[in-house]
């Protein structure tokens, strides 16, 4: 199963960012909460689903498994698609930046 491209879900985007440093499920959710300034409290089902799917799409890998918990890390392929998504989102924000300028006027 290979990642087919296209816009990422919010959950996927944040998990990939948070996995720049190897991490496991619970800590990862706490990390995302911190990263998003408390805006995102990701549910465990969503987290587990994203991790399983992205592992199949080879965007992340398991670097440690002690039988009770797995530690995940982003792959090079994961980094590439994350960067692509970042640029896509940046373009979207830039294209809509006039909204902010109008708001100041």
């Amino acid at each position: 199963m290979v990642y087919e491209g296209g816009p990422m879900t919010e959950a996927m985007y944040y998990v990939l960012i948070a996995l720049s440093n190897p991490n496991h499920g619970y800590q990862l959710m706490e990390e995302i909460k911190k990263l998003s300034g408390g805006r995102i409290a990701m549910g465990p089902g969503t987290m587990y689903g994203v991790l399983t799917r992205m592992q199949k799409e080879r965007l992340i890998i398991v670097i440690h498994d002690d039988g009770r918990r797995k530690t995940y890390q982003i792959t090079d392929e994961g980094k590439t698609v994350l960067l692509q998504e970042y640029h896509r989102l940046k373009c979207l924000v830039d294209d809509g930046s006039y909204l902010e300028e109008n708001a100041h006027e």
Binding site: A11, Y26, A41, M42, G49
Partner: protein, 400 residues
């Protein structure tokens, strides 16, 4: 040890919102889910709780890591049934939902929908095979009613049960597809949906399936009884001069003096020439009676051998009056076409004391009469010197 209570599950498995809502309502009644079964759920009787239930759909089994992860957010794992994994947590405003991204949640259904689709195709193929098999079985010999009495009931009931299973599985499949579409569109699951609305179809299907199962068990009971009867001698036994049956006996037809019941050359437990076979079922009580005389001091008219008249009676006592005409027609057809080389034409005759009579002349010294009286239908094959009116006269008395 606390009491375990079972409740029928009248909600479709994949109607997640209603199922979760039902489980929450049960907890408020003091019933905490313990196990999910095919048709019911087991609950532990406790005090009433305000509990939230969430059902995860995943074709993979729950891992320890996953259970612990959910636990850290307050969701305790309860049990799994097929692809459904059930969690619960005490209701609280601080409770974090298991799924916070609907699009991601919709992805979890992909494998299950594919699995259900394969299951539907396989079940439909089985259903088609069963229907074709039954149609062929019932059409054999162009006597559908007789075949239905003979082998059909069980097959027809099992076909209907199979149809019910297919409907239920398709219903589950539709629910899971609808759920996926709903989540993809960004509409969340209503965890407190009115589950009473969703119970009607499942209740109706379960009710019909239970009725059919009861019929199958009754029919199986008859079949077991038939097998037991074969061994204990009640289902199949040798005929004697004194055996009382509601049919015509050779003694009432023949005028021979000192007849004896013919024995087989090598005596066996069952005498083929003089035997009664009894078979009961939901649709029919049936006897097959074979009777053959041996008259030492009397010979056949066309050859010198000892006179051995015989009478084979097939007796059907029908439960369903609607089958009467069909069985009568089939028996007449069967007798008309008994020999592949020749076709004998049945003649309808009137005889006092009998409701409907057909006479089929099968050549010298041989004929068949098919007779109906009330809910009893009989076909009698006679070999001997007597006229058919004599057989009918003996039968009219026998049936009284």
């Amino acid at each position: 040890m606390s009491k375990i209570v079972k409740r029928l599950r009248n909600i479709n498995l994949y109607n997640i919102g209603m199922f979760e809502s039902w489980l929450s309502d049960m907890a408020q009644e003091g019933l905490l889910l313990k196990r999910v079964g095919y048709s019911n759920c087991s609950f532990q009787k406790t005090e009433a709780y305000k509990m939230e239930y969430r059902i995860e759909i995943d074709s993979q089994s729950m891992t320890k890591e996953r259970i612990e992860l959910y636990q850290q957010y307050g969701w305790a794992y309860v049990c799994s049934y097929r692809e459904l994994h059930i969690f619960r947590a005490p209701a609280s405003e601080e409770l974090i939902e298991i799924h916070t991204d609907l699009k991601e949640q919709s992805y979890t259904l992909k494998n299950v929908i594919r699995k259900l689709r394969i299951c539907n195709i396989a079940l439909l193929a089985c259903l088609v095979f069963i229907i074709v098999d039954n149609v062929v079985l019932i059409s054999i010999g162009n006597t559908p009613y007789l075949n239905l009495l003979e082998y059909g009931l069980q097959s027809v009931i099992s076909t209907f049960i199979m149809i019910m299973v297919v409907i239920l599985t398709i219903h589950q499949s539709c629910d899971s597809i609808l759920l996926k579409k709903m989540l993809t569109k960004g509409k969340p699951i209503d965890h407190h949906a009115n589950w009473k609305k969703g119970t009607k179809l499942v209740k109706a299907i379960n009710g019909i399936a239970i009725i059919f199962c009861v019929f199958i068990f009754i029919q199986l009971g008859y079949q077991v009884n038939h097998i037991v009867g074969y061994f204990n001698g009640k289902g199949s036994y040798n005929l004697t001069m004194d055996t009382k049956l509601p049919i015509a006996r050779l003694a009432d037809i023949e005028e021979s003096k000192n007849p004896i019941l013919k024995e087989e050359d090598i005596p066996k437990k069952h005498n083929f020439y003089n035997e009664v076979q009894k078979e009961s079922g939901l649709l029919v009580n049936k006897y097959e009676v074979r009777e053959t005389y041996y008259v030492a001091d009397e010979v056949w008219e066309d050859h010198d051998e000892a006179y051995t008249p015989s009478l084979t009676t097939n007796y059907y006592e029908l439960t369903i009056p609607a089958f009467m005409d069909g069985v009568m027609k089939d028996l007449v057809y069967q007798e008309e076409n008994y020999y592949f080389t020749e076709e004998y034409k049945a003649i309808k005759v009137n005889y006092e004391g009998l409701d409907e009579v057909y006479y089929i002349n099968g050549g010298t010294g041989c004929f068949t009469v098919v007779v109906r009286k009330g809910n009893k239908i009989l076909s009698l094959n006679y070999w001997g010197k007597q006229e058919y009116t004599k057989v009918l006269s003996a039968l009219a008395i026998g049936l009284k």
